[in-house]
Amino acid sequence: MKFSNIIITNFRSYYGENKFEFAEDESQPVTMVVGNNGGGKSSLMRAIQWCLYGEDIKEIKHNESKVPTCEVAINFSHENNLYRAHRRITSGQDSFLRLLKIDKKDGRESGEIGEPQLTINGFLPIELKSWFFYEAEGSGAASANHHNLLDGNRYSKDALRKIQGFTKIDQLIEDLDKIHKDKARARVKQGENLEAQHFQEQIDKLEIKLEPILATKISADDDITRYSEKIEDLQEKYRNTPSTKPLQEEMDRLNPQINSANTRLLLKQKKQKSFLADHLVIFLIKQLITKNQTPKQHKEGVQLIRSPDNTDLYSEIKANGECICGTTIIPGSSEDDKVRKFLTDKSKDKDKNIFNSRARGVETVMSTIDLQVEKFEKERIEIKDDIDDIESDIKTNSARVAQLGLDIEKIGNTESKIKKIRDNINDLTSLQTAANATSAKASNKVTDIRESIADLTRQRDMADNNRTMTDSLTSFIKKIGSIKEYVEKKQKQDEVVALTTLMIDLNEAVKKTSFANIQCKIDSDTYAVRVFDTTTGEEKPALNDGDKELIKTCLVACVVGQASKKSQAKNKYLAQATSAPIIIDAPFTKMDVDYISGCVSVLLEKTEQLILLSLPADYKKYEDEVFSKLGKKYAVVRADRGPRNTEDITKYKLFKKDIDLVTFDNVDEHDAESVTQSRIVEVK
């Protein structure tokens, strides 16, 4: 399938007739739709799915009283033929699908296909649609499966086996098994061998017994899948519902911290006060001493006193015109003479010794004072720094608490909603656990009964073979048995090859796309994707969101590649090739921007058309990587939503042009839920 255009009329946010052309050029195969939330991007994907499969009927929210009819038409080509799929629904009735063949020359309808749904399912089987229409971040029904795509689930396994053509072989094996059993039963009956008939009767009884147990198991397995999808959906909701709880918890954690900091602050301030009071004297002495010194003396400290009998000291005193005690010395004065004589006198007289010892005393006191001052100053600074730190912590935490208060007020009371979701998850988990137990119990019974049947079958065949009968029925049973055995054995081997091929494709895609040292293996039992760090060889227990998105997108591309004609030559298992555009809602939101270009190339290797639906901010991140591949560019320039008391106009430079994206309130309160309206324009 290659889409040419879609005409959407009155579907969800699309009022009136809205036509979109899709990029079909091989060199520019990407159609890009950019717009804000609620603008109709996801509705475009849902319109395509609804038109082709008629699902999601509950999602249609057109205003029935005003617009009773809603319709979507897709023009597409398939196997060199042109078609138009057209689905229409009128209020209160079931939807109606028509598939029309279109004349290539004049574009007119040239006939109608009898079984449209069956034919479309032949083009793109419904089981495979989720691989082609990929909700990378959406909340639609398929997104739950998409969310845990890498964890392995029945959905992935079944879809992949379907793509690889194995589900059809499963059916063939089942048919051959049934035929084999029926024929063996007929042979026993025909042979009138009482012993063999006895065993056959027991086998029949067991098979009758087996049927309801198998039904129970299938039903339990379906329940498990259904619950799992619902749980995943609810968990997504849970993750996306803003909760005040962590904010309140943070607030509750910060408030005591603020209180404790305030207490510590008070203590420190008290300590600071008493410290200053206790040690003020020493600071004053220091100041007093330093005050009576000349700047030079102050600078050199007690050095001048250290050698009082030095003649240089006298020169210094003379040069400064001041004695060390602060007395002014006038050259030639008696004071000058006295000082000079005193300092230059070499005799060890009593006065000089007294002076020297006094000078040393002063020196000691001053150095002690200096040390004390230094110590106290250090301590004083430490106390001050502590106070500054505490004050800063209090300020930061108080600001955070104020912000948390505002956030909590803004979010409002969603806790009851969250509790309800959590309760629902718990209820569903209990149901799932019960279903698991039922399935396991049924599975054990099925195994036991099947073993008994196999044993009885052997006994029956032994009893049956005792007689010599080489009729055509025996020959047929032998043939059927051989064919069944061959198909089973070959399928097992084929599955190994198919899965290995997929793993090789996936690793090549990841390698082309990412610089990260990662490689993947797909578990043959669960189909879960296991990721290994190639530098250490260890399995990575948890992946970051960017790597997850990268691997998921590559996996989607590779699965589509396996299904599509592009890889048909390589994929010999496929029952029927399927090709269709890949549509991705919200792509590349978490992926490393350096990987996006490679990822787009990988996607385009696997499909002929790529349709991307992005938020403006997300698109801006990867515009440079895809711009040259864009064949069609659309912007949601206007979205009317329900009254949310907001009117938002955002200016963007999209597709290298200035574009305003406008989100309006809708004033018609009667239609608060149902009336939405979008205007999407092509940007050329």
């Binding site: 048919d175 043939k479 059927i480 064919i483 198909v487 090789i504 690793n507 490689q519």
Partner: protein
């Protein structure tokens, strides 16, 4: 572990599986034909399978 180990390992596994793949042309052809039978009713489909196998005389040799 060198970077290409898993890929190398997978390619070798694919080759090995491919080499060991059992292949009986007579059965392959029949299976391809059987897979084309597309009938929503199990009974009708199984009748067609029986018919198809019964008419294939070349299967008598197996």
């Amino acid at each position: 572990m060198p970077e290409t180990d898993i890929l190398k390992e997978l390619k070798e596994a694919e080759k090995k599986a491919d080499r060991e793949l059992i292949d009986k042309p007579i059965f392959n052809e029949l299976v391809q034909d059987l897979l084309t039978l597309d009938d929503s009713s199990d009974t009708k489909r199984r009748d067609k399978i029986i018919q198809m196998i019964e008419t294939r005389k070349d299967l008598d040799e197996i």
